[in-house]
Amino acid sequence: MVSIAVGVTILLFILLLAGMPVAFTMLITGAVGLYATGGIYPLIGVIKAAPYEHVTSYTLSTLPMFVLMAEFLTAGRFTRDLFTASHKWLGHMRGGIAYAAVAGGVMLSAVSGSSTAAAGTLAAAAHPEMRRYGYDDSFSTGALAVIGTLAIMIPPSIGLVLFGVFTETSVGALLMAGLLPGGLTAIGYAITIAVIVRRDPKAAPTVAEPVPMREKIAGLKPVWPILLLMALMLTAIYSGAITPTEVGAVGALAALVIAVAMGRMGWREFLQALASATRNSAMILAIIACSAVFGIFLTLTGVTQDLLMTIQAADIPPFMVLMCVLLLLLVLGFFLDQLAILVLTLPLTFPLLSGLGFEPVWLGILFVKAAEIGLITPPMGINVFVVASTTKVPVGKVFRGVWPFVLVELLILAILVAFPAISLWLPGQMR
């Protein structure tokens, strides 16, 4: 059994390296593994039913709903306004546009669950302003790539929904658990920016002129419906009375109504948003459907149980195991997309770690945080590529600006590991 599992894992990496899509790789290796383990009949039994059964899930429909809401808000150009409003309030400080990007990023994250989309939108809105005030390109683009990652932690987060579906952990509790770590991350970014602009006068040489209070308040006008929507959604999830799926669907409907009512969405924008949301959702759902086959194969081999017993027999401290898994996630983050990391590692590592007695919700936060760091580390930091292509700044330059933030990210991950209460306090209040 172990030799089959090892062989299939090697096949998995070969296929991934050969450029096979992640979803297809999971299906192929799962099918090969099932055939090697039990022959043709178990394979037929699993392949005709498992991909279908895994997507006929009400909890999983949270995912397309959150994606749809983010697309409607982007099509209605609200994401840009969130930055503009923050800019009016914070722009006059030293490095103010970068702080505004953090504040805009937090609000953006609260309506969008996709980091790459957030990074792209922020870069398009904030970078021209940063360039106008002579910000160093490396600093400004690095900061924008990093700030985009907030979206994967602050609810609604697609990463957390995916973790919840995969591990059968309460999605509502996971979404709430992401709130404080997300806030902590935002504070970490702001402190990093403060240190950088103080130490390097060239990073942010000039400040924007202060904006009169009347204009500041006027700047909030186009964004207040979004802020209200955000607050209502958080309250609804927190109350526990409404399921995250319903929050997502009503949120998407509200975003559509707000955009149309404010005259920001015509027929063309609507169709574009719908097409984009369908494509992104279908991509993620295909991964989930295909990885079902791989998951069943892994369960059948009993590798997880064997590994768990070996670890317990060898008296390896559980904390050590957790550290090894987090390290693995960080290393995978160098090469793989966040969703791919979760899909590839969860079938083995989650039963292992929860078997060792770690709290599932806390693990969700740690997993998503570790995968988030991979979005900004070379050679495959996807957010960095998005920001580089939006701003036309060379990729190498963006990566240089990202490094100080990567250190802070690691520090925050360490804090989250050391103090589980940061993640678990809020969901604990829900019950």
Binding site: A18, S61, A277, L285, A289, L336
Partner: protein, 166 residues
């Protein structure tokens, strides 16, 4: 030859994608109607749960699959792509398509047999509204079958990503 095949497949891809788009939109309306109805008027929308899980989610996933693949929407590892694309004759891309076509073809065939069996049984779901279950099983073989056809075409005419070849 290639362009005729390409046009034919793209037509069906777009048709399936349009249904997937309709599914995500109807999903939003149906879940919202259920939630708002329940909390505001104490009148939930009967059958919304079954309709979403049994039909809309399956349609969105499997009918969205071929077009998403065709437009390069699936995440993959790009580390070796620049080198792989330089090998004359694209053997790696062809092999990828062949392997994927075999497995998706297998999936489409057996889920197709399953769908036919479900039609023969004529089962319905439980609950106030009894949905015909067999219509829920049709979308897996349709989506995967269409994807298999495209993958089969790509064995002969591998996809060339011009931006990767320098």
């Amino acid at each position: 030859m290639r362009s005729t095949l390409e046009r034919g497949l793209s037509f069906f891809d777009r048709l399936c994608m349009a249904l997937a788009q309709l599914a995500i939109f109807v999903m939003m309306l149906s879940i919202s109607a259920d939630a708002l109805g329940r909390y505001l008027f104490n009148r939930p929308l009967q059958g919304s749960f079954e309709f979403t899980t049994l039909y809309l989610m399956v349609i969105l996933t499997f009918l969205g699959l071929p077009a998403t693949y065709a437009s390069g929407g699936h995440i993959r590892l790009d580390v070796l792509r620049p080198w792989i694309a330089r090998i004359p004759g694209n053997p790696v891309e062809r092999l990828n398509s062949l392997i994927a076509a075999c497995v998706f073809g297998f999936l489409a065939w057996h889920s197709g047999l399953e769908a036919i069996a479900k039609f023969a049984d004529g089962d319905t779901s439980f609950g106030v509204i009894q949905f015909p279950l067999y219509w829920s099983y049709v979308w897996v073989p349709v989506g995967c079958g269409l994807l298999t056809l495209r993958l089969a075409v790509e064995i002969v005419f591998p996809r060339v990503d011009h931006e990767d070849i320098h």
